[in-house]
Chain length 454, copies 2
């Protein structure tokens, strides 16, 4: 997607002016009118010293909100530079899930130092969240949710909420917990507002709950929330106790992350790292070399096949002219089919039960595509090589290669999925390389048969 | 992402039981306990006749919610089969944005018939929404938002909301409109609940608003909402009048759609169509053939190049054994680099201003990768062909090809973007085919020079 420069960048000259005049009041007011994410963008234009000054002016709520939106590197630099009292206050004020994301970038020793200057309860909370794997529901959830007991009235619930709302990330769903912290129900704030003030929560709450197990992986978790169109889902441990919530904005981040990962796999581009722009070239190269090496070794096989059939090439050098065409068409047709299946499995459009229907369909598609391209190749051979036998060889090879490529491209991701491997590892380059070998074998066999070479 | 079978499927035997007993009360109660999306999933297991019966039992709210979650084909069949009175009621009750999505699948004549049985105001609303392009903010927005005047108090606002909440999709942000429907402010329900009951809305509303222009494309729109972490953003026309809202669940759909489109482009798989499983193979084939034809024509060029240099191949047939290796490595390295830039531009990780840094970086990465693979190719040539000259030829070709491929893969998407073309058209197959030609030229030139062929 396309991101544009923020409207907030327009106020940068004004801010510089206020900074040079040391006009503290104006520096507060001008920033407060903007959203934290915009302020974080603006800050990238200012020096660390200026940032420290600004963070010492702002109220803690606002400072924490802006801090959450900054880049990890800038967060670390800022935390190191501000004075300890303010540092502790900001750490206490951060959203629990954002705080853990920040801590995960730091060496353990520094985390412990930060935990030691935080309020006891917040520090305990952070320690608990850090025990969960970062890519599971536990690692993504926030612990600031609205929770009430079932035996109070709507009126009492609203009063209670009024008191606690400020601390909470999300008050639009209110979770009802039993005496033993078991999640027993949920009410939306909308329902609460519409209900009679004297009704008991237990009478109006929903009790068939959709919950996320605390160890569910983030991809699966995002799919659940996207499916239900809820603003948040509760996270429960294996004893049914409520531990936190996942909000819909976390889901957007997860979907973008997971799609990026899938695309990198499809491009055989190695692991996705967050900071491509600041990463050293040697590290990026190391990231990509593994796949290239695997593919090179497979290409060696293509070379060996050609070597084995060199007698055919020697007796008719024109055979070699069609090798790029046949290998290329197979690779491209296979890549198309693989893309459709990989993405179809990811979005749920294709299910495992559809496996035979997909294969049958792709077989027909492949035969049609192969037929079309085969005729084209035949025409080319007739025009440039004036050999109908060579033309027939190429045309037949094309039909068989493209059909096989399309089927293989479609079926490989399904097989991976059945074996419990992420279907996205079936990348374009992998398909291409595997098909190179297959198409050479097909081509030479047909050539030897039709042209009577030996 | 991974979707699993819903927990709701467990109740299917029970439902069949109730259907055979014609137990209408039980059929209502058992469904009401589940979420609309789950009910829509369950319905796929039942016949059209059974669906019609169920839709006639349920209350209209629930029926409309379930209808919204059904597949387009099933929606059309159901609407055709239920009686007209109920049909009109369900149409009136649908969320405006979902209703327009449904109408867009239908022939104009049928839409007019449906509009004629709807309430006047709902029909007018639907007609207006249909005038906007489906992939813009106007085509995505819903018109059911909470709107109040600025001169009322918090107390009055809450009372007003209590009355209207049932009709609205989203009451967690309340938009403040001037007398001329100009959007002048916004307050969250959270802020409203925390505020003093006697405060005027004008005193507490936010006035620096982030808005979405009604003609903004959906990709850009999704990026804006994802950036701000809001639950919804207001959509305004070019005179600043508020027309609707975009909610965060729309954004999730858009992101998945746009990512799918990008991936299809990268796999050169043609247009993404929603119903792969139900689409005829001929149509899928037609969808994919365009790219294959373009790539085949490019492959012809590779063949012509080989033909031109056939004298070199004739004097040393072993030269041909390395063609798959060199072409393959170039294609793969280029695909990797293209993937990183395409996705980086999409997520905003790489910006247009970074163009030279990216190229410099990819040049270094390419040289390292090419060097590594070149050494490997040299070793292979020494072992199997026992020719150090051929080995040197292959090694040099590898270094130059892979370096050029990496740079080209990285820079092509940036050039496209600058020219106003979607960078995602720089697909793996395109890169591979372009590089086939380049790598053959490089390889033959080096071979002729080093091996003294002519």
């Amino acid at each position: 997607m396309d991101r544009e420069i923020s409207r907030a960048f327009l106020i940068i000259p004004e801010i510089r002016e206020f900074l040079s005049q040391n006009d503290r009041e104006a520096l507060k007011e001008i920033f407060y009118a903007y959203e934290p994410v915009e302020v974080a963008e603006i800050l990238t234009e200012f020096s660390l010293k200026e940032r420290v000054l600004l963070f010492s002016l702002w109220n803690i709520d606002f400072a924490a909100d802006v801090f959450e939106k900054m880049e990890k590197d800038d967060q670390i630099a800022l935390m190191g530079a501000i004075d300890e009292a303010r540092r502790g206050k900001i750490l206490n004020e951060l959203a629990p899930d954002e705080r853990v994301d920040f801590f995960e970038e730091l060496p353990e020793e520094m985390v412990n130092r930060f935990l030691s200057i935080m309020e006891r309860e917040e520090a305990r909370d952070a320690r608990e969240l850090m025990t969960y794997d970062a890519s599971t529901a536990g690692g993504r959830m926030t612990t600031e949710f609205a929770s009430l007991k079932e035996d109070i009235t709507v009126q009492q619930a609203l009063e209670e909420l009024r008191k606690t709302a400020k601390e909470l990330e999300m008050i639009y769903y209110i979770y009802i917990e039993s005496r033993y912290n078991h999640l027993v129900g949920v009410i939306s704030l909308k329902e609460l507002i519409m209900a009679e003030p004297t009704t008991k929560l237990s009478e109006i709450m929903h009790t068939k709950l959709v919950t996320i197990p605390i160890d569910m992986d983030q991809e699966h978790m995002a799919a659940e929330i996207a499916k239900y169109d809820f603003l948040a889902l509760p996270v429960v441990d294996n004893r049914g106790r409520m531990k936190g919530i996942i909000t819909v904005d976390d889901v957007i981040d997860v979907i973008e992350e997971e799609d990026t990962e899938d695309m990198y796999k499809f491009g055989a581009a190695g692991e996705h790292v967050e900071d491509y722009m600041s990463m050293r070239p040697t590290l990026v190269a190391r990231n990509r070399i593994t796949w290239l090496l695997i593919l090179v070794v497979t290409s060696f096989l293509s070379g060996l096949i050609m070597q084995k059939f060199s007698f055919a090439l020697e007796s008719m050098i024109a055979l070699s002219f069609f090798i790029p065409l046949i290998m290329g068409s197979g690779g491209n047709a296979g890549t198309q089919a693989a893309m459709v299946t990989v993405r179809g499995l990811a979005t749920g459009e294709i299910r495992m039960g559809d496996i035979w229907r997909v294969v049958r369909k792709e077989f027909l598609i492949g035969a049609m595509l192969g037929g079309g391209l085969g005729v084209l190749a035949l025409v080319r051979a007739l025009i440039f090589q004036k050999s109908s036998l060579l033309g027939t060889t190429v045309a037949f090879s094309m039909i068989i290669t493209v059909t096989a490529a399309t089927c293989l491209g479609a079926i490989l991701p399904l097989i991976c999925k059945r074996l419990g491997i992420d279907p996205a590892v079936v990348s374009g380059p992998l398909i291409t390389t595997v098909l190179d070998i297959a198409s050479l074998l097909i081509y030479f066999r047909i050539a030897i048969f039709l042209l009577g070479l030996s």
